[in-house]
């Protein structure tokens, strides 16, 4: 029930934004996050962006995974 889906912001407006979720464009509320811009990634839960996704942190985690995979 606490599932949240990564989605890219396509449009922004007054407290709301449009994202693509599973191939469908959907309006979500961005009242829980600060200053979101087009192109940023957010986690969507129950129609709300609950946080931004840091692409830099994601890359660091993936780099760590590659390191572990290469070491074995």
């Amino acid at each position: 029930m606490c599932l949240g889906v990564p989605a890219k912001i396509l449009e922004t407006g007054d407290g709301a934004a449009v994202v693509e979720l599973g191939g469908v464009r959907r309006e979500i509320s961005v009242m829980l996050i600060d200053d979101v811009s087009v192109g940023e990634w957010v986690i969507v839960h129950a129609g709300f962006a609950i946080e931004k996704l840091s692409e830099e942190e994601a890359e660091q985690t993936l780099a760590l995974f590659r390191e572990i995979a290469d070491a074995t």
């Binding site: 606490c2 129950a46 074995t72």
Partner: protein, 364 residues
Amino acid sequence: MQLKYIDDFRDPATAKALVERIRGDAGDAPVRLMEVCGTHTVAIARGGIRPLLAGAVTMLSGPGCPVCVTPDGYIDAAIALGTKRGALLASFGDMLRVPGKSSSLEKEKGMGLEVRVVYSPLDAVTLAAATPDREVVFLGVGFETTAPAIGGAIKTAAVRGVENFSVLTSVRTIPEAMGVLAADPEVRIEGFLCPAHVSVVIGTDAYRPVAQRYGIPCVVAGFEPLDILMGISMLLRQKKEGVARVENEYSRVATAAGNRKAQDLIRDVFVPCDTGWRGIGVIPGSGLRIADRYASFDAEKKFGHPVVFAMEGSACRCGDVLKGKILPVNCPLFGKACVPEEPYGPCMVSSEGTCAAYYKYGAV
């Protein structure tokens, strides 16, 4: 189609390397870890992670399925608001089959109860605005992940003046429940795999009291298979080093302090309260009720119909399953009197229930 930030965290070769790393760190006896969250339970079952780690790690499933821990008295109250008070109910889909004392929303729906399934609490506000001659009651069930969305809907209704909207709340907070489990000598947890999205809201620092007071390592992990395996590996490394701290595998979204805006909204709309968890009992300070300044949106007050909590007595052992004391297969009803098509206990109802996940993906 490659799904960014999803498929990246599902690579089989990396999963294999992580499993080897976990096995390399494991001792003679399996380490007892608990995944607190139902979304983790489903991901672990679907990913076939338990058999991969057999002998090295025993994964216990925790109480983190909001639908499963919602007491039957709540369902009874929701049904009564619809049938006796004529309210139009709006609910998340997974609540419909949860058994109350003698019925469920789904059964009542078959007999004429009006229940609309919504994706977002905001959809229920929109529904209320579109049907001004009806009282719309949203069934606000969830943990800290969902609390800001429920609070956001209440604030939106207040701002827009949607007076025929109210919420029957069943909102619970996770760290308090973890404290109860950590203190239970029968459960014997050696590490907590902490929820991804609850932690996004409350911040990973929220688990420091559990780690410090009980000496249990805590790792926040994402919901994809590599996240889970990495989280388990980090827990084993802590155990090996003999430390108990809070670590964050899900750093791409969760932070130490959490989402302050969401926390502020929760503090504005809700106040902490003692609340009953189905099968577990009352946990002090583990619930959120609507603050008095938003009392007109509190369905219990608006209709004078409080939710009554009582521990149900039956052969159903969901309570012990939710506490990680037994596996679903150890319940006398599992797979016999209790199956997904005809669930007896709440753990079989929700797709994220431990029993439903075990039943669907094999009892391993």
